[in-house]
């Protein structure tokens, strides 16, 4: 899956940039680091979502077949354009649906870390079932404010519902037999579009621990490569005093990663090192 390689590459490049900025003359440039952290976050979402879609691809083949009918308006994030990055992503059809949701909600909640959570959530939702298609369609066609406030909207909920890895999970989109990672555990009530059934939310809450473990297991191998590459770099960073600009640049690097990655040990080691 080329886009996974591409996302991984962009993540490596981004981490490299963040590291190099620490040794650049003139101190850390907050603006550049913020932008790089945004790209890092996007790449990571793509990377992880790719991973999960791949892992559950077999089980989901039936459902995903429906998703191939997604309208063009939903292929917002990665239209089959000429960009090297975009091209690889557009090969994975669920992909385009995730990103508009992510982008919109990110822009909406620009003061909230939970936007990251929603984003991560939304990357997963697209692999969901038919009902999620409707909600996705709604999301894609609505303006940002509406997508957040729309009570019937259930993209996040679908994600909360998790992806059903078994074919038995039917059109009822909110069955979470196989929990997904990251954002779900941090979701606050206001994020989950209110169309949720209470039952689903409860399930989410209870399955958090399970999610984390599974996520960690799945993620560790991929992340550890990155850590190995940058391991020696990060150790030096840990000893840096918390000078204000540095702390803030570190924090800006942490913004997008922190909440999502807290429970992923290898990642948190890397990011906390910033």
């Amino acid at each position: 899956m080329e886009y996974k390689v591409e996302a991984h590459r962009i993540m490596s490049i981004s981490l490299g940039k963040i590291y190099n900025s620490r040794v650049q003359r003139g101190g850390i440039k907050l603006h550049k680091n913020l932008l790089v952290s945004l790209v890092l976050r996007s790449a990571r979402q793509v990377y992880l979502s790719d991973y999960y879609s791949g892992a559950c691809l077999n089980a989901q083949s039936e459902r995903e077949g429906n998703e191939w009918d997604i309208t063009d308006s939903e292929r917002e994030k990665f239209p089959p354009s000429a960009t090297e990055c975009d091209r690889v992503e557009s090969t994975e059809e669920p992909q385009p649906n995730e990103q508009p949701e992510k982008e919109r909600e990110y822009r909406e909640n620009d003061d909230e870390v939970k936007s990251d959570q929603v984003d991560c959530t939304s990357t997963l939702q697209e692999q969901n079932q038919n009902s999620s298609l409707d909600s996705v369609a709604k999301v894609s066609s609505e303006t940002p404010p509406e997508s957040i406030t729309e009570p019937k909207e259930s993209p996040s909920d679908s994600a909360v519902a998790e992806r059903d890895s078994t074919p038995e999970a039917n059109g009822e989109s909110h069955q979470p037999p196989k929990p997904y990672v990251c954002s779900n555990r941090k979701r606050s009530a206001e994020e989950s579009e209110s169309g949720d059934s209470p039952q689903k939310r409860t399930k989410v809450a209870s399955s958090n621990a399970k999610e984390d473990e599974e996520a960690e297991e799945m993620d560790t191998s991929n992340v550890s490569n990155l850590i190995t590459i940058f391991g020696s770099s990060f150790s030096g960073l840990l000893s840096k005093e918390s000078a204000k600009p540095e702390a803030e640049a570190e924090d800006s690097g942490q913004i997008c990663c922190d909440q999502m990655l807290k429970n992923l040990n290898p990642w948190s080691t890397a990011i906390v090192a910033f």
Binding site: I10, G27, L34, V39, T83, P245
Partner: protein, 451 residues
């Protein structure tokens, strides 16, 4: 300028000619010589440049020679001085670069000229004055300054002023230090001629030109928890006529207009200018390329222009939901964003400028190309600043970039562009069709062709 020049106008019926180039010729560029800012003064007679080495060089336009209509006034070096030195912040173990981020001229009040220059942390007010006579005939001192033995003095004389070779002196009159925690990206002199603003990534301060030990913070977007930081301030400017109004742009592509009469702290904007994102252009790098690198008010104060990575937008101050005009600077780069991210070019901060009557705007690009965008005629042209077009009065030929497919003759393909040759800083004479274009370490001056 000699003879019949159209003042301030010009677009594509204007032909641009090479006039001068300043700077070293060799390709090996010393980092200290990299030009980091260019600015004409209010009359256009003086042209200041700042570089990475902390130096300011001021060029002065020669007075016209009316007896020779074909001659063009040239800009010659008027003054050179070291404005900022590298510093070390011992508390934070950080080196502070001496690079001059911005220069802004003050309107002239007397014989001397004043400008503000800033690096990442400190703003300085410089006085540039001329001295063309000196006193001679002191009683107690020799001409070389040594004191005479009082016992040898037998007569008294009155010292007189005698002419001397013109000397231009630059002296720092004010140093505005310790006002900013983050890197200063903009300074802007107020139309009241008493105050100016300075902006860093998260805060904007208002200073009085006479007072250096304190400033007022008027905008502060630092979140309580830095982990929640999502946008930074990228540029700020005072309105050219309304001394209570200023704008600042953000890394998210928004511009906020603030009115200082509304409250002491202008965290709440009076107007928010933002264009909804085009969903069909989404990519990993959408956020980076929407970050605004420069914002400039038009001379008449009715419009403002913003520059993001790929486009220039003109905004009507009365319409917040979208720009009135959008110009693509180098749309052919949209498919190359990933490579431009890798080589850091995507973070380049291009500036933009208006011509004297606000009919044409100009901005830079790569391969030493720069773009002239004619608002009134809705036409644009791409020109190149190169040593190959350096014959006196040589007319610049329009350049074309071939985005894909068959490359026509005289076109250059996107893959052949030199991304190390970037024009980030340009300036337009406030009244005449004279432009200053800075390549990496050279300053090109182009003028309108005079027939």
């Amino acid at each position: 300028m000699c003879g019949g020049l159209r003042a301030g106008g010009g677009g594509n019926d204007v032909q641009w000619c090479f006039s001068q180039v300043k700077g070293a010729i060799d390709d090996d560029v010393a980092e200290a010589d990299i030009i980091s800012t260019v600015e004409f003064n209010h009359s256009g007679e003086l042209l200041a440049t700042g570089d990475k080495g902390g130096r300011v060089v001021i060029f002065q336009q020669e007075t016209e020679n009316k007896s020779q209509p074909q001659c063009r006034s040239e800009y010659n070096v008027y003054s050179t001085f070291q404005s900022h030195e590298p510093e070390f912040d011992y508390l934070k173990s950080l080196e502070i670069e001496e690079k001059i981020n911005k220069i802004r001229w003050l309107p002239q009040k007397n014989a001397a000229q004043f400008l503000l220059s800033t690096n990442d942390k400190t703003i300085k007010l410089w006085k540039i004055s001329e001295r063309d006579k000196r006193p001679e005939g002191y009683n107690l001192k020799e001409e070389d300054g040594r004191y005479r033995d009082a016992a040898t003095i037998t007569t008294l004389r009155v010292p007189v002023f005698r002419p001397m070779d013109l000397m231009v002196e630059a002296s720092p009159r004010r140093v505005f230090a310790n006002g900013h925690t983050y890197h200063i990206n903009s300074i802007s002199v107020n139309s009241d001629n008493e105050t100016y603003l300075s902006a860093d990534d998260l805060r904007i301060n208002l200073w009085h030109l006479e007072i250096t030990d304190r400033s007022f913070n008027v905008v502060d977007i630092k979140p309580a928890n830095m982990e929640e930081l999502t946008e930074v301030i990228t540029a700020a400017e005072f309105h050219p006529h309304q001394c209570n109004t200023f704008v600042y742009s953000s890394s998210k592509g928004t511009i906020r207009l603030c009115d200082m009469r509304a409250s002491a702290l202008c965290d709440k904007h009076s107007k928010l200018f933002e264009e909804p994102e085009d969903p069909s252009n989404r990519s990993f790098f959408s956020e980076i390329i929407s970050s605004i690198s420069d914002v400039k008010f038009s001379h008449n104060g009715r419009y403002m222009m913003t520059r993001d990575y790929l486009s220039v937008k003109i905004w009507d101050l009365n319409m917040e939901n979208r720009p009135v005009e959008t110009y693509q600077v180098h749309e052919y780069l949209r498919s190359k964003l990933c490579s431009l991210y890798e080589n850091d070019c995507i973070f380049d901060k291009f500036e933009c400028c208006w011509n004297g009557n606000d009919s044409v705007v100009m901005t830079g690009s790569y391969n030493n190309f720069f773009r002239m965008l004619d608002r009134s005629q809705r036409r644009d042209v791409t020109l190149e600043a190169s040593r190959e077009s350096c014959k006196p009065r040589q007319v610049l030929k329009p350049r074309r970039v071939c985005a894909g497919g068959k490359r026509k003759k005289d076109e250059i393909s996107v893959d052949s562009l030199d991304f190390n040759k970037k024009i980030l800083h340009t300036a337009w004479h406030p009244q005449e069709n004279i432009i200053a274009v800075a390549t990496t370490n050279n300053l090109y001056i182009f003028q309108e062709k005079v027939n």
